[in-house]
Symmetry: D2
Subunit: 332 residues, 4 copies
Amino acid sequence: MNAFGKLFRVTIVGESHGPAVGVIIDGVPAGLPLSADDFSVDIERRKGGIQKGTTPRKEDDFPLFQTGLFNGHTTGAPLTIFFENKNTRSGDYEKQRSVPRPGHADMVAHQKFGGFEDFRGGGHFSGRLTVGLVAAGVVAKKMLPSIAINATILEVGGESDIEKGLQKAIDAKDSVGGIVECRVIGLPTAVGEPFFDSVESVLAHAVFAIPAVRGIEFGSGFAAAKMFGVAHNDAIENAEGKTKTNHAGGVVGGITNGNELVFRIAIKPTSSTPKDQVTLNWETNQQETFSVKGRHDLCIALRVPVVLEAVTAIVLADLLAQVNAIPRVWKG
Amino acid sequence: MNAFGKLFRVTIVGESHGPAVGVIIDGVPAGLPLSADDFSVDIERRKGGIQKGTTPRKEDDFPLFQTGLFNGHTTGAPLTIFFENKNTRSGDYEKQRSVPRPGHADMVAHQKFGGFEDFRGGGHFSGRLTVGLVAAGVVAKKMLPSIAINATILEVGGESDIEKGLQKAIDAKDSVGGIVECRVIGLPTAVGEPFFDSVESVLAHAVFAIPAVRGIEFGSGFAAAKMFGVAHNDAIENAEGKTKTNHAGGVVGGITNGNELVFRIAIKPTSSTPKDQVTLNWETNQQETFSVKGRHDLCIALRVPVVLEAVTAIVLADLLAQVNAIPRVWKG
Amino acid sequence: MNAFGKLFRVTIVGESHGPAVGVIIDGVPAGLPLSADDFSVDIERRKGGIQKGTTPRKEDDFPLFQTGLFNGHTTGAPLTIFFENKNTRSGDYEKQRSVPRPGHADMVAHQKFGGFEDFRGGGHFSGRLTVGLVAAGVVAKKMLPSIAINATILEVGGESDIEKGLQKAIDAKDSVGGIVECRVIGLPTAVGEPFFDSVESVLAHAVFAIPAVRGIEFGSGFAAAKMFGVAHNDAIENAEGKTKTNHAGGVVGGITNGNELVFRIAIKPTSSTPKDQVTLNWETNQQETFSVKGRHDLCIALRVPVVLEAVTAIVLADLLAQVNAIPRVWKG
Amino acid sequence: MNAFGKLFRVTIVGESHGPAVGVIIDGVPAGLPLSADDFSVDIERRKGGIQKGTTPRKEDDFPLFQTGLFNGHTTGAPLTIFFENKNTRSGDYEKQRSVPRPGHADMVAHQKFGGFEDFRGGGHFSGRLTVGLVAAGVVAKKMLPSIAINATILEVGGESDIEKGLQKAIDAKDSVGGIVECRVIGLPTAVGEPFFDSVESVLAHAVFAIPAVRGIEFGSGFAAAKMFGVAHNDAIENAEGKTKTNHAGGVVGGITNGNELVFRIAIKPTSSTPKDQVTLNWETNQQETFSVKGRHDLCIALRVPVVLEAVTAIVLADLLAQVNAIPRVWKG
C-alpha cells in the first residue's frame, strides 16, 4: 500500500510523467495555518537543477491544495496537495520501452504490473514522487513546533569533503552514492511503542520508502557491533534520562530516552549513470549495451536530506499522536 | 502496538518473569499440519545455555497450543502458542528496582509506563519474548515450503573468526556485539509493494522489533554509498530478471527481482556486561556504580540468527499473502 | 480516518464547496481497462436534478484521472479521481454561519474542528462526497465481473408506492426518508472472516459512511427478532450450500453461504426540510427560527441506491481480495 | 481478522471445545488497577444456566491473566486473559460431523476452512467466545469511569413482556429472538471521525461480531424512514449541543453530539431449536431430518446485553483514545 501512519496518515500518489504527483494527508489537526509559502523552502531544497550534481529537470512544484484547506487553515478533513508534472519529455523513455535500465525498477515493475505500469521516467517508482513526501513533511514539521529535525550529508562517493566526492563522479563520468545523517532535538521521552512500533521500526519502515536507500543505522549503528558493552552503554545522568554519551542515538528498547535522536542512511549511487551498461532487451531476449539519455542526478544523495527530514517528521507526528501529544484542534 | 502484519498477523505478548510469554497468529491457512516437534529445532537454536557466550537461564520452552489447532492441523482460527516462564529468579531484579541498567529499557519503560511496568528481567522488553517470534517463524516457514531462509553470524566483536571474537569478550570481562546476515533463496519476483510496503520497509520494520538491533542494510548496503553507479548496478541477464551481480540484494524499487534476498543487521553488545558501570539511582537521584548480577549472554548476537530467520519468514508470509501466493486452505 | 479497506483501499477527500471532491483507490489490479465512459451511468444515477424530489444543483461530475491510469488501463499504482465543484453558491451558507442546521453536522463539526471546518454546504460532511464513493464503486464493480449488485428503493415516506411517498412530502412541504434494499447475486461461498471481519461487520462499517443511514439489517433483519427458530433457520439443500429459504440473507457466521446476499438500510428524511425549524444561534446563544434556503433533496433516499451499490462493491472487492479471488494483474 | 481497534485493540481467540478461549488487549493504559473480582459481575451476567431460557452448560469462567498484569495493575504491555473450557461434551458433536446444523456456521466453516475447522460446539464461531469480549469490556469500562453504558432487552419473541415471550418459546418447543437496546450516558461531544470511522460505522462493525445479530439501528432507526424531516430533526437547545428530542440517538454526521447515545440490535432466534429440522448430510449428499441434542439457549438474546455493553465500551475506548481522551498512564 502507498500509505503510512496510524493517526497521521500519508498517502503518496502519482507517476513521474502523468498529470500530477501528490499527497493525501489524513489526521492533520484542524486550524493549522498553512499556505503555499510554507512549502517553498523545502520544495526548493528538494529540487534539482541548482547544485552541481543534480538533474536539470525543472518543475515549478507549486502546491495545489485540492481539499482540506479553508481560509488559510486546515479543516481537519484530509488535506490533498498536488504538484503538476509539466516539464516531462516522455519520448526519452518510450524509445527504450523493452530495455529495462539496470538499478531502476523498470524490470520489477514490468513483472509486477504485467506491462501495464506507467514506465515513463520510472512512473510510480520515480524519485519525483518524493515531492509529496516533502509536502507532507512541511505539514508534519508545523505540527512539531518544539522539535528540530536536521538532516545533513556526511559523505559523497566515500568522501566527507563532498565537493571532492562529486568531482570523483565527474572525473569518472559516473554517478556516486552518499550517506545522510538525521538528528532530532527536542523529542520528549517515552515516544514509540514496544516491539513492532518501536521508533526504529517505524522510522526504518518509512525511510525505506525513499528511493535509493540501502541501509539505516541508529546511534553507533553498525559500529556498535564492534564495540564492548561497557563502551557502548550510555551512563544515565539525571532523572530526565540524559546520558553522558549517546551511542544509543536517543532510542532504547524502541522508546525515546530524551537524548538527541541520531540515525544515518546509505544512499546508493544514482542508477542512471552516464556510463554504458549491459542489460536485457526483453523483446529480442538478448543482452545489449545501454546508455542513459535522460536528465539525471550525478548524486541523488544531495537531494535526500530534505526528504529524510520530511519522512522523519511524518513518523514523529504519528508517534506523538499516539501518546496524546498532538492536539486535534490547533491552538495558535 | 505489539502486532505486525496485514494478512498474516503476529501479536507478541508476555513479560520475562510473568506466567508466560507467547504469540497469537492470525491468518494461518487452515489445514497446516503442526505439532510440538515442528518447533523443537528452532526453539533449541534460540536457547541459551549451550554455546559458550550464552546465558545459563534454561527454560523448557515447550509450546502450549491454546487455540487454533485441532487434530494436528491448524483450524484457520487464530493460533495461540504460549511458553511458560519457569526458571525465573525475580529477586535478582527487585533489589535493584531504582537503578536502571544502562543500555536496557528500564529507564524508558519507567518513563513510559509510569512505574507500573513489570521490571523483572526487562519485563515486556526482554529478549525472552523472542521465543514467540521464533514460534511464529516456525509456522511461517511451514507456509513457505519452497523458500529457504538462512541467517548466519558474519562477525562477533569485530572478528569474522567468531571464537576469536568471543575470546576477546571473555578476556576483557565484557560483552560484545556482532553482525548477522540473512539470505533467502526461492523467493519469487514481484513480491513487495511500491512505496511504504517495500520489501525493505516491512523487513526493517519487523527486524527492529528484535532487541539489540541497531542497523540493517540490503545488498551492498552502506558500502553502496562508496561505489560508482556502473559498479553497483546489476546487469540483467534473462527474462526472469536474473542479474550478473547482486549488489541490490534481490530488491529493486522495493520489489523482489528474483535474485537471492540478502541483508545484514548489526547487533549491539549485550547491555548486561559483567563490568562495573555508572548509572542513576532514581530514588537517591545520585549516580552510583552498578554491577549486573543476573545470568546473561556474553554476545546476544549468537542467539539472533534463528530469530532473524523467524522475522524474515513472518514478513515474507505476509507479503506473499498479499500477492495471492498463500492459499487459505492448505493442500498437503 | 477517511479510508476504508485492507487490500482494496478507498480514501474519500474533499469538501462540498472546495475546489474538488475525489477518491484515491489503492490496490486496484494493474491492467483494468478504464475510461470516463465507464463512470457516466452511475454518476448520472447519483446526480440530482432529474427526478422529482432531488436537488436542482447540477454538476458535470466528469471524472478527472490524476494518477494511476495510463493508456486506458490502470497501472497498479493508486488511482486518483477528482470531480470539480463548479456549481456552488457558498453565499447561501456564509450568511448563516452561526446557526447550525438541525439534523446536519454543522454543530458537531464546529465542536470537533473548533470552527476551522469548511462549513459551506456541509463541507466534508456533505452528501456531495458520495460522488467519490460512486467512482470507487465503478472501479470495484469492474473488478467483480461475475457478481451482480442491485440496490432498489423499497419505500419512501413509509409508502411502497414511491410516487405516493414523494407526494406526501410535497403536500406536507417537508422531506421524507426511505428504505433501500441491496441484493447481490453471484457471490462465492466462504467470503468474509470470522469475528471482526464478518461480511455484516465490514458492510455495515462502510454503509454507515453514507450520510443519512440510520440502520442496516441482513436477511430477515429486525423481523427475525420476532420469529421462531425453526421458521428462521434456512434448510440446506445441496453441497454448494443452497438453502430453501434465505432468512439469513446469504450470510451465516459472518461468512457467505452461496445464497443471494440481501440487506436493507434505513435513510432518514433529508435534514434540509423547507419547513421552519428551531435551532440555536451560537453567537447570540439564543434559539431562533430557521428556514433552509439552499437547494436540497426532498428525499435523499432516491439518490442512495447507486451509492449503496458502490459501497457494497468496494467492500466485496476488499473481502474477495482477502481470499485470493482478485488477481493483481487483470487478464482481459 | 479476529482483531478490532486502532489504539485500543482487542483480539479474540479460541474454540468452544478447545483448551481455552480468551482475549488479548493491546493499548490498555499502564497502571489500571485490575483483579479477578472486577470481572465477576459481568462474567456472571453472561453465563447461562441461571435464568429460564439459557443453556445449562456451566463454566467457572475464572479469568486467568497470562500477561500484562503486575502487582494488581496493568503494565502497559498487552493484557492476555484466558478462560478454560472445562465443561465440554464434544461427543455430542462428533456424531453429527457431516450434518451441518441449520442457522449455525457449520456449513460455511466447512467451506471456508476445508474441513479443518474445529467443529465441536461451533468451534471458533461459538457464542462461547463472547466471554473474551465481556472480559475486554470490563477493562474498557474501567477506562471510561465517567461514562455509563446500559443495555437492556426490549422484547423477546416479539413481546415486550419478556416472560411472555419466553413462555411462547416454551409452549412452541422452539427458540425465539429478541431486541436489545443500548444507551450510553456521559459521552463527550466530538467523538468519532468523519466518513469511515463514524461512531455508527465502528459500533456496527464491532456489534456484528456478536453471533446472532441481524440488524442495528441508531436513534429512531428504521422508523426514521417513515418520518417527516421536521419531526425527525432534533432542535438544538444550547451551546453544548443538547437537543430537545433525540431522534438522532446522539450521533450526527458520525460524530457524538453530547446527547445520550441510543441504538438497538436485532437478535435472531437461537439456531439450536429443539424442533426437528431438515438439512443436508454432506456425506450421503441427502437431506435428512435433524434434531439438536446439545445444551442450548431458548433465547440467546437474554445473554446479549452484557456482551453488547462490552462491545460498546471497547469501541468507545478506542474512539476516545483517538481524540486524546484516554491517558497512557492511569492516574487513580
